[in-house]
């Protein structure tokens, strides 16, 4: 079937490299690994370019594969009996670049403590601004499961953040001169 939209690989890289990298970074908490995943995702896109039907399809496909490959990478690196967040703290220090939100770096560390399905759902919700239905399509999961993961993930994040954010709020207030 002929299609009107012609994929331009380089343009797709330009348009979506930040998205793919950020998804991988938030899932794994590791910049180097996230870049490796991003490269792999785009090379896989190149192999499947003939099956991409539109710009929106490309975006959907990239999100889906980025999350899937990130989950695979996490599984490969998982150490029996130790959660990923411990490994991250011990070996990678979550050294993220400074950003506009003073809570950004800490929140990502807290995110790393969540189970992968909840983490993936929250990332797609708050980074990509997807609805639960769109998240379900991206993760190939039932909508009810996604909603449950969002709810539980957010609840867990709030609870963990509450104990960690007091000092951050104090820092913020100090910076404001409060």
């Amino acid at each position: 079937m002929a299609r009107d939209w012609q994929p331009d690989f380089e343009q797709l890289v330009d348009n979506h490299q930040s998205m793919v990298f950020s998804l991988a970074l938030r899932m794994t908490g590791d910049r180097g690994l996230a870049e490796e995943i991003a490269q792999d995702v785009f090379l896989e896109l190149d192999r499947h370019l003939g099956k991409i039907e539109s710009a929106a399809h490309a975006c959907f496909w990239l999100r889906r594969v980025a999350i899937s490959r990130s989950a695979d990478a996490l599984r490969r690196r998982r150490v029996r009996g130790i959660g990923l967040w411990v490994e991250l703290e011990e070996h990678h220090g979550l050294q993220l670049e400074p950003r506009t939100s003073p809570l950004g770096g800490r929140l990502e560390g807290l995110l790393a403590m969540l189970p992968e399905p909840q983490r993936a759902a929250l990332i797609l919700r708050y980074q990509e601004d997807l609805t639960p239905e769109e998240i379900a399509a991206s993760l190939d999961a039932p909508v009810a499961t996604v909603k449950s993961n969002l709810q539980r993930g957010l609840k867990l994040l709030r609870a963990k953040a509450a104990t960690h954010l007091k000092e951050f709020v104090r820092e913020k207030e100090y910076a404001r001169g409060v």
Binding site: V13, F21, Q39, L43, I82, L96, Y126, Q127
Partner: protein
């Protein structure tokens, strides 16, 4: 959406891709590509003339600029090989990291069971 969720959204603004990521992707793509399309010559008089002229130009280039072309080609080939080396090293690194994790897990399991 409450304050926490708003801060969450702000905190999870997309990170810019690392500098040079696109170049590395494009390089790997070039290395991975194994398809070449070759010009198809339509053997009519005009095409034959075009080919003849092209060959003459190429011959001139070969005589006067061949060395630089070969050098550039060699550099490109060397870069392709380097990319293959990186692919091999990447796979090696993954395998070794997995090994490290297994060894670490094994060590911890032994400690817990009092074998050490």
């Amino acid at each position: 959406m409450d304050e926490f969720e708003r801060e969450l959204r702000q905190a999870f603004a997309r990170q810019p891709a690392p500098p040079g990521l696109k170049n590395r992707i494009m390089q790997r793509r070039r290395t991975a590509s194994s398809r070449r399309s070759f010009p198809f010559f339509a053997w009519n008089g005009l095409a034959a003339s075009f080919v003849s002229v092209s060959l003459c130009i190429l011959a001139a280039l070969a005589i006067y600029g061949g060395y630089e072309q070969r050098q550039a080609e060699q550099r490109r080939k060397a870069e392709d090989v380097r990319q293959q080396v990186l692919i091999a090293l990447r796979i090696t690194n993954r395998a070794l990291n997995h090994m490290n994790h297994q060894l670490a897990a094994h060590g911890r399991a032994r400690q817990e069971s009092g074998d050490n």
